[in-house]
Assembly symmetry: C2
Homo-oligomer: 383 residues x 2
């Protein structure tokens, strides 16, 4: 057996983790905040207001997106140190799908205030538990194909974050000029460990601009994944969002008291909605980015199912009680009811207890029009 | 108001019917045998083994095919003189859908033996009731658009049948070279009333042959509708199918006795399967054909629904709980469940309680492959 560079790296990481466990807090404690408050509509009719994407199973293994997210980081973060930020409607779903998670680690936002207040709330809870700690901020509804590579990137990000007061974001090496993601420009020659200094965050570009970005080799996709010390992010919130910080401190004081719920309700609701990208990352110093090529997928629509699930010899990705006759390159997701398809190509068919979607693949972007139609007609039972 | 030739004809027919009713049996009694034993598969999943096409409603008015068939001839044939030939499985469906029909007029074939034995059984029952009568033989699962024209053709057919010992078939003036129907060649210069003498019956032709037939103007489609006196058809069965005739006579003797059921079971089962076209019409003399142009449709597949139901401004024929986004020229038949279609063209979608069909229009002929698949897998619950 010949050792590869990757093997040595994995061995060293493993040795470091083992040392940490044997010798106590040689390295800083690693915690995670998983953001699970989203209400996606793009997986209708499987996803509903009361069952958004992060609580669905879209992979072959039957595990839900949030279950996979927690499982994925388990070699690095103990379940007791995983915090889930969500809203009250999904509290019972989180408890059901993550039975090992301490109930107090479910942080229910009284109202959606975008990512900066959400991350602040998570930081406050972690700061109550540990003097300081590495805090990974992760979406709950992305998929990652190469888990060990991902963990290695998180370890590297932890090192960069721990060294000083760095804010580390994880960028995805772009495959093609996607116009649906934000981009991050980095300085190829200013590094910190394996990370690059960030020059700026940019919003979703036009296709022409996206092509330019790709050509420069100095832009990565913004994955929405961050790593920092709790102390660092709190300092940055204090500096760039002082009102939010003051309210967070009031919430922090009330944690564990009888007033916790009431204070959270009052102070969180009073915060200005603000994304962490624009509220902090664009203003802060010491922003670094680690490029990731670990098979990331944000599972943005039913079309993604084709990338993440095995297709059969006809190119169909099927589940449920299905008969296909002369049917090719279709995504067919059924339940108990028999679905028979005849002479179809490039279609998405999703059957649920009370609604069936039949959509041409090249019209997947129009699924939201079905939702609009349902909203206009007050047919809330289907939304 | 200017009288048209058709008005005068309709007036005269009406006057004749009125005379008949006022003055007793001036003209021969008119009876009908409606053949309703078919087990069509082409309307799956709406049609099933236990609910074939003739018992389905496929039109806008909500009436089933067999209800429409009986209603259509009601100005000409009293409900007491309508006989339904079917099999035991459908007896209760007939009773349910035709509550005015005398129960003894439901003739249950113990086993399918094609049309000649079926017609013989009907003739035997009518002969028990009337010394002689006109007998219309009609399929239960065709649609007719212009009912008055159809009734006039039946009246003409009755006249030709009553005059001598003529066997009268109703031919459909072809619109195009259909390869799915049989054709009947007639002598344009040998007439009897409004009917033409038949030269021969021919099986489903190739497209080239069908085009030739159309070009000659001497071929009509075989509609499977016949008119004759009961005495005439029984004589022809005696001459051309003597064994069937003998068994029919045994059944006739037993009608109304305690042995009726047992004799029917024994004798009918023993008959040779034979269609009336090949068993009698091709051998008999005095065969006449009346051309019909009354908007006939044999409703041969889901595609027919487009011809018989109103489509909306997008060319879709929809029923049920449907949302269509950028969807054109589709047939969508739902029930309570919501069906949302996005970006579809030329599709057939049929949703039922336990099965959904999604089929490209140009693949409608392959729906039978779904049934084959279900049979192979012993999934009888869906057949």
């Amino acid at each position: 057996m010949q050792l590869q560079k990757g093997d040595i790296s994995a061995f060293l990481h493993h040795a470091m983790d083992t040392m940490e466990k044997l010798e106590g807090n040689t390295f800083m404690k690693k915690t995670a905040l998983i953001m699970a408050g989203g209400r996606g509509e793009r997986f209708w009719p499987r996803s509903r207001r009361n069952l958004p994407k992060q609580f669905l199973s879209l992979t072959d293994d039957g595990k839900t997106m949030i279950q996979l997210t927690v499982e994925r980081i388990s070699p690095l973060v103990d379940i007791e140190d995983v915090y889930i930020a969500t809203n009250r409607d999904y509290r019972s779903l989180v408890m059901e799908q993550l039975p090992g998670l301490p109930e107090k680690n479910i942080l229910c936002e009284p109202v959606g205030r975008n990512t900066a207040p959400c991350i602040g709330l998570g930081a406050v809870h972690i700061a109550k538990k540990y003097e300081d700690a590495i805090m990974y901020v992760l979406p709950s509804d992305h998929l990652i194909k190469f888990n060990n590579m991902f963990l290695n990137v998180l370890r590297d990000a932890g090192e960069v974050a721990e060294n000083g007061e760095n804010l580390v974001t994880i960028g995805i090496t772009p495959d093609y000029p996607e116009t649906g993601y934000g981009y991050i420009k980095f300085h190829p020659d200013k590094t910190e460990g394996r990370a690059y200094a960030v020059e700026r965050f940019v919003e979703k570009p036009s296709i022409e601009v996206a092509k330019e970005y790709i050509a420069t080799e100095e832009y990565l996709w913004n994955s929405g994944m961050f790593t920092w010390k709790v102390s660092t992010i709190l300092k940055n919130i204090q500096m760039h969002l002082p009102d939010t910080y003051e309210r967070l401190m009031k919430i922090a004081e009330a944690v564990g008291t009888a007033e916790e719920e009431a204070v959270l309700e009052k102070e969180f609701r009073a915060m200005q909605p603000q994304s962490v990208d624009y509220g902090i990352m664009e203003k802060a110093k010491n922003i670094y980015i680690l490029p990731g090529t670990f098979g990331w997928d944000d599972v943005g629509s039913w079309l993604a199912v084709e990338r993440i699930r095995r297709s059969n010899e006809s190119g169909n990705v099927v589940s449920g009680n299905i008969i296909t006759i002369n049917t090719h390159n279709c995504i067919i997701q059924g339940e108990r009811k028999l679905i028979a398809t005849v002479g179809l190509d490039d279609m998405i068919i999703v059957d649920t207890e009370d609604a069936t979607l039949i959509c041409a693949k090249d019209s997947a972007g129009d699924i939201k029009k079905v939702l609009e139609n349902l909203k206009i007609c007050n047919r809330d039972e289907y939304i």
